[in-house]
């Protein structure tokens, strides 16, 4: 069974430029999560989707971050404009449902903002 797929794996951009990350969850997983992981820290949730609905985006900095999950499958996370402090690893995870269902993570996208 294929795992969570993310692209690109690495991205280097200048500050103030836009950037987008793509995630394809495990087939059949209705719940999708975007996390941010800074160096030496655990992942922190940005947004959670149930199918195509964003049910918790309370931790998403909405002035510059946006996300969508069209048709309840793939998802895109966008930053516009990027700031130096956005340099981090952006992880996507998916689970069959919420509750205590295990979240399976993708390999992440490492973003460097210069």
């Amino acid at each position: 069974e294929a795992g969570v797929v993310q692209s690109p794996r690495y991205k280097i951009i200048e500050k103030k430029q836009p950037v987008a990350f793509w995630c394809n969850p495990i087939s059949g997983h209705n719940t999708l999560y975007w996390y941010l992981q800074n160096l030496g820290q655990g992942p922190e949730l940005l947004i959670r989707y149930e199918n195509e609905e964003a049910v918790d985006d309370s931790q998403l900095p909405k002035d510059r971050f946006s996300a969508e999950r069209l048709k309840g499958v793939d998802s895109t996370l966008k930053i516009q404009p990027a700031e130096l402090g956005d340099s981090a690893v952006y992880l996507c995870a998916s689970s069959l449902g919420t509750g205590a269902d295990t979240q399976y993570f993708g390999p992440g996208t490492r973003l460097t903002v210069l």
Partner: protein
């Protein structure tokens, strides 16, 4: 606010030298405690879920235990390939996972 504290921050072992990693937590309404392994440049890989105090789970050289305030990840006779960062996370009665900072384990041959 949920808090997860992992100790030690880093642990260096010789191959075959058993030890334990600690995860202490404060959470309102624990639904589950998760252990993940993370290799450099990769996403966290699921290891275990524990749901109630007294529960134990094993996988190869790893054994996870849970009390009302902490969880331990015991590593028996570790090998170099066990070197990784081990992350602990707690889940509330809602869905939210709160992670600790992790323990960086290095096993020398």
């Amino acid at each position: 606010e949920d808090q997860v504290t992992q100790s030690p921050e880093a642990l260096r072992l010789q191959e075959g030298e058993s030890s334990s990693l600690n995860c202490s937590y404060t959470v309102s309404g624990l639904r589950g405690l998760f252990w993940y392994r993370q290799d450099p440049g990769k996403g966290p890989e699921f290891l275990f879920t524990l749901y109630s105090a007294g529960e134990e789970k094993e996988k190869e050289r790893l054994k996870a235990t849970l009390t009302k305030k902490e969880s331990f990840l015991h590593i028996t006779a570790p090998k170099p390939e066990d070197s990784a960062t081990y992350l602990c996370a707690v889940q509330r009665l809602s869905y939210k996972l709160t992670f600790g900072k992790g323990t960086l384990l290095t096993v020398n041959p």
